[in-house]
């Protein structure tokens, strides 16, 4: 599919911004996301094509503004839902619970 991910050759994105001495992870959750992505792949929850498909179906605005680790969250979550391991409602509820805990 030729969605927003197909950026090769498009104009208007501006200069390539290079961060000097870039750390491996900017935030701790990025490392958790990386390892969860690999663990779920190893567990056979998705193959490469199944992994990429939900990223390619992301809302174009979300795709362009999110980090790669956020894109990975979108696809791992979607694949785990599709595989019947979790439901969106469960993830929403746990997420809300953690946000409340932080706010409290």
């Amino acid at each position: 599919m030729n969605g927003i991910h197909d950026v090769g050759g498009k104009h208007g994105f501006g200069p390539v911004l290079v961060e000097q001495n870039e750390p491996y992870f900017h935030e701790e959750w990025e490392g958790r996301m990386l390892s969860m992505m690999i663990a779920c792949f190893a567990a056979g929850i998705y193959n490469v094509d199944q992994f990429r498909h939900p990223i390619e179906k992301m809302d174009p605005r979300h795709y362009l503004m999110s980090s790669y680790y956020e894109k990975w969250l979108c696809t791992v979550e979607q694949n785990c839902i599709d595989a019947g391991i979790v439901t969106r409602a469960e993830v929403d509820a746990r997420h809300a619970q953690l946000m409340e805990g932080k706010a409290a």
């Binding site: 290079v18 663990a39 503004m65 680790y69 956020e70 969250l73 785990c80 993830v91 953690l98 946000m99």
Partner: protein
């Protein structure tokens, strides 16, 4: 500016780190993943993967003509022989830079990158500007990286796929005839193996 921030907040996942935590805790409870295994994966990435692996491949190719031929003929096998194999490096092709050809690698559709030899990709490699521009104006992009490729040198841009990854074999710098393989490896930068840079000279 306030309006702008507001619209950003609507597009991105709020408290994304907490949503990652939410998903991880649910998957652990349902025994789909083992949190201890996640710790091990992070540690493996932080300690065993990274461009120092690719640099050893390059230094060996610079010093061992037989290995160089093998690497250019069957990158996957030659790289595997040094132990650098695994997820995102299953099929590898080495691209030889010469006085007349400069290679540069991108993944326009995604951020495919050879993890076993180069580790995790830098943010710019995953960014829309790099992916969009390097395929239509590679010389301008390389210039922004401080690399001025002469007009008589052909620039070849290689677009990675989900299954196939590239490693650029940069040219060996002059004045390195007496260096050991280990000393040579120290001159091989990550960017020189992506093609947005060249190997450092010993006086650097």
């Amino acid at each position: 500016m306030t309006t702008d921030n507001h619209s950003h907040a609507n597009v991105l996942i709020p408290e994304v780190g907490l949503r990652v935590k939410a998903l991880e805790s649910l998957l652990a409870e349902k025994k789909a993943i083992d949190p201890a295994a996640l710790d091990l994966i992070i540690e493996t990435f932080e300690t065993q993967m990274g461009p120092k692996n690719g640099a050893k491949v390059v230094a060996k190719a610079w010093t061992d003509p037989k290995y160089r031929s093998w690497l250019l003929e069957d990158g996957t096998a030659a790289i595997k022989s040094l132990g650098y194999i695994g997820v995102q490096g299953e099929n590898m092709v080495a691209l030889e830079n010469t006085p007349t050809v400069h290679n540069v690698v991108v993944c326009t559709l995604c951020s495919c990158y050879p993890w076993p030899t180069l580790g995790l990709p830098p943010i710019w490699f995953k960014s829309a500007p790099y992916r969009a521009r390097v395929v239509i104006e590679p010389r301008s992009v390389l210039k922004e990286f401080g690399l001025d490729v002469p007009d008589d040198v052909e620039v070849r841009v290689w677009d990675s796929t989900a299954e196939l990854r590239y490693l650029v074999l940069p040219m060996r710098p002059s004045g390195t005839e007496n260096l050991t393989e280990q000393e040579l490896a120290a001159l091989v930068t990550r960017d020189s193996m992506i093609g947005t840079g060249v190997a450092q000279s010993p006086s650097h």
